[in-house]
Amino acid sequence: MSHQEFALEDLKRILLEGAGAEEGVDLDSDILDTDFEELGYESLALLETGGRIEREYGIEFDDDAFAENRTPRALVAHVNGLLQSA
């Protein structure tokens, strides 16, 4: 499991499972640099998403992980960083 990778597709799947998608937001469009808030995910949706990523990938986020990584690109990179240092 040490070389597991976290891709945008994984994030999208987990977002949909845990919080669904906002009306009028297409997760298949170019969302890499769009703020999560703009995509319709408030703090609770991100808390749920974070919990699901932690469970599935066996990692642990710091409390400010989602405050510092506010877009899909930043979060995916952050998760991969955690996976590599695991």
Binding site: L16, G18, G20, A21, E22, L44, A45, E48, G51, E54
Partner: protein, 405 residues
């Protein structure tokens, strides 16, 4: 001068009908919707019948964003709210957001959601519990979700007084309109046909253990053996009558003309139940004499001791067999906070059609001196109706609904 408060929009979902048309078509002919529990395996429980809603698929009506964060009762309530807006001919943005509020009632809260998360907590660990458990189970969640979805930021809240709450919430909505709000959503929804909700009700000791859908929930019948629980409820849009007229409201179903609420004396005190006083207070508030009430929608507990109290209160206020009494909830089971709002809906639809829907399956026991409408619906001119609801713990509430010319 206190403002007249009228019902201008309805959303209803009960075991015998989704939407006003289906609900009334079923209710006016006494369509039974009580059957064996299918939402979970109830075989090992002493009570095994329920009034379930079988034809509701939340995903057909609500965005996927709302599905992971809502209990079944909230999904039903959100869809009913959409229907009520449509029925009232109002769109959420038409009225300033701080002039619209939501006051609902709740008995259980989101038990099915809560049960699933507690199950994860004990079988998998705390990290498996949904973040949405923080509010999805909560009594106020229906008010909150309706408020968020429709941008209603005026006076809002929840009333928790079991079945009586369905009327208490309507009264609170009326207060807020009299204080200046333009539009308040009110009513109640419960849907806790899950093991956790079930054991809580079984422990109350008033659920029937009958397995015969037509002989299970029999208020005022010699064979009364308790109640059958159901799921669902109704939401109504309440508005100031003048404001509704000014915007040209298409439907003005009726006026919330009177309200009374009491608490029973301590058990064993030997004092009379507060129910009669709640009825008299509602009549006085509506400035109507008992003879001006055309029909009573009874609480109809289905337990002989409680049926006795209600029949005595009705006879004391209206005289022996002095007013037609009905309990259409015999078709659906008791819907907790949803029951009385559904009865208010039935009352205004009875006015519209001139027809009192029947109490099904029941043969009136001779010991009760009331004019119970059994068997079939009864044609009648209905201008004013009394709706009664009682809640576990001694809550008694009554609302008078009056036709608007």
């Amino acid at each position: 001068m206190t403002a007249k408060v009228v019902i201008t929009g309805i959303g209803v979902a009960t075991p015998n009908g989704l939407g006003v048309d289906d609900f009334w078509a079923a209710t006016r002919i006494g369509k039974n919707a009580i059957g064996p529990v299918t939402r979970f395996d109830a075989a090992q429980y002493p009570s095994r019948l329920a009034g379930e809603i079988h034809s509701f698929t939340a995903e057909d009506h609500l965005p996927s964003r709302l599905i992971p964060q809502t209990d079944r009762m909230t999904r039903l309530a959100l869809v009913a709210a959409d229907c009520a807006f449509e029925d009232a001919g109002v769109k959420p943005g038409d009225i300033p957001e701080f002039d619209m509020g939501v006051v609902t009632a709740s008995t259980s809260g989101g038990f099915e959601f809560g049960q699933n998360e507690l199950k994860k907590l004990w079988s998998q660990g705390s990290q498996y519990v949904s973040a949405y458990q923080s509010f999805a189970w909560f009594y106020a969640v229906n008010s909150g979700q309706i408020s968020i979805r429709n941008g209603m930021r005026g006076p809002s809240g929840v009333v928790v007084s079991d079945q009586a709450g369905g009327l208490d919430a309507i009264a609170q909505a009326r207060r807020q309109i009299r204080k200046g709000s333009k539009l308040i959503f009110s009513g109640g929804f419960d849907a806790s046909i899950c093991p956790w909700g079930w054991v809580a009700q079984v422990a109350g000791g008033r659920m029937t253990t009958s397995d015969q859908p037509e002989r299970a929930y029999l208020p005022f019948d010699a064979d009364a053996s308790g109640y059958v629980p159901g799921e669902g409820g109704a939401l109504m849009i309440l508005e100031d009558a003048e404001a509704a007229r000014a915007r040209g409201a298409a439907n003005v179903y009726g006026e919330i003309a009177g309200y009374g609420a009491t608490i029973d004396p301590k058990p064993g005190s030997g004092r009379e139940s507060g129910l009669r006083r709640a009825i008299e207070t509602a009549l006085a508030d509506a400035e109507l004499a008992p003879g001006q009430i055309d029909v009573v929608f009874a609480d109809a507990a289905g337990s002989p001791d409680l049926d006795r109290i209600e029949a005595d209160a009705l006879t004391a206020v209206f005289g022996p067999a002095g007013v037609p009494v009905t309990a259409p909830k015999t078709m659906t089971g008791r819907l907790y906070s949803g029951a009385a709002p559904v009865d208010v809906v039935s009352a205004v639809l009875a006015m519209r059609e001139g027809l009192i829907p029947p109490t099904t399956n029941v043969t009136l026991a001779p010991e009760y001196d009331i004019d119970l409408v059994t068997g079939q619906a009864r044609t009648a001119s209905v201008r004013a109706a009394l709706v009664i609801a009682r809640g576990q713990g001694g809550f008694n509430s009554a609302v008078v609904v009056r036709a608007v010319d």
